[in-house]
Assembly symmetry: C2
Homo-oligomer: 180 residues x 2
C-alpha cells in the first residue's frame, strides 16, 4: 500500500520548527493535482502563520488549544462560483440545501486529502479539523458568503507517534452486486 | 511528490482483463485506512461485476457507455446512521439540507480518493463517476433511503495515456493570512 496512506495519522502536538517553503509548495501542488467534477477545481487555500490569526481560528475551532502548536494552518475554502455563475447572492453554511455545495465539498475533500498524504511523504504531520461554524470562520478570515470552509489543516513537524485508530472490518463494509 | 498523485488520471477505456483479488483487496484496505470525522467511517462499498448490473448502472449514470468496458465498478455508499442514531425516517438526495450529509460526503470522498491513488499504485486505472440521481441508483442497487451514493468508480487495466488536464495556477488559489 502507498506508505503515506498506511502511515498517516491525525497529529495534535507539533515541534517549534518551521515548515520549509519547498515542502509546503510540494504539498500545495499535490492539492492542485487533485481530480474534481468537470475539472472545476473549486479549492482555495489560505495560509495562516501569524500567532494572532492562529489564535482566533483555534478559538473558533472549538478552542482545540493543541492546534496553536502547529507553525502553519492551511484553511481550505471552496468556491461555489465555479458551478453557479449567476450574480445572485448566495450564503453558504452547514444547512445549505444546494446540490452544488455537496459537489464542492466532495472535490475539496479530495484536494485536502492529497495534502495530508503529501505532508506525510515530506516527513511532516497534519490534522484535519472542522469543529467550527462557517459564520465564525468567515468573519475571522474575511471570507465572502458564497464560499465554504471545508477544513482547517494544521501542519508541522511532530514527534508524536500514534497507532492507527480502530477500523471497521472490511467484511462489514463490502457488499456484492447490490446492497441487499 | 507521491507518484500516484502525480500520475493518476481519469481513464475511460479498459482492457478485457480482470482485476486480481489481491489488488482489489489492497485498494479496499486503502479506503479502510482513510480518516473520517470522529472516526465514524461512513463508507460502504458495493462491488459490481455482473454485466447486467453494470449495464443498469451505466444507463443511470448518464449512459456513459465507456464505463461498461471496466471489469468492476465500486459503488461507494455513505451511511448517515453513524451520525444520526434516531429511528426517524430519512430520505437523502441531492437536495437534502442535513449538515450530517455534508460530513459523510466529505469522509467518503477521502476514502474514494485513497482507492483511486492505490489503484494507480497497483498499476490499475480508474475513473470517479457521479452523473446520476440518487433515486435511480437506489432502485438499481436496492439501497435504503438513508444512504447516499457518493460515487461509482470504474476500475481495471488500461492502456490509455492521458496528459494531466489543465490546472489553475497555484498563485490564483493561494492567499495569505486572510481571504482579502
Amino acid at each position: 500500500m502507498i506508505s503515506s496512506i498506511e502511515n498517516r495519522r491525525s497529529v495534535r502536538t507539533y515541534l517549534n520548527k518551521d515548515v520549509e517553503e519547498e515542502k509546503l509548495l510540494e504539498i500545495l501542488k499535490s492539492a492542485q493535482a487533485a481530480p474534481s467534477g468537470s475539472n472545476t477545481q473549486p479549492w482555495n487555500f489560505i495560509l495562516v502563520k501569524s500567532e494572532e490569526k492562529k489564535e482566533e481560528i483555534t478559538k473558533a475551532d472549538y478552542n482545540q488549544v493543541w492546534m496553536k502548536s502547529a507553525p502553519i494552518f492551511i484553511v481550505c475554502v471552496a468556491d461555489i462560483r465555479c458551478r453557479i455563475k449567476s450574480e445572485e447572492e448566495i450564503v453558504l453554511d452547514e444547512n445549505t440545501t444546494l446540490p452544488e455545495l455537496k459537489m464542492i465539498i466532495r472535490d475539496c475533500a479530495i484536494a485536502i486529502e492529497h495534502m495530508l498524504l503529501e505532508a506525510e511523504e515530506q516527513g511532516l504531520s497534519s490534522c484535519w479539523t472542522g469543529w467550527y461554524e462557517q459564520e465564525s470562520m468567515r468573519e475571522i478570515l474575511h471570507i465572502p458568503s458564497d464560499k465554504y470552509v471545508c477544513g482547517v489543516i494544521t501542519l508541522g513537524y511532530s514527534e508524536e507517534i500514534n497507532p492507527m485508530r480502530p477500523r471497521r472490518d472490511l467484511k462489514e463494509m463490502i457488499r456484492y452486486e447490490t446492497w441487499e
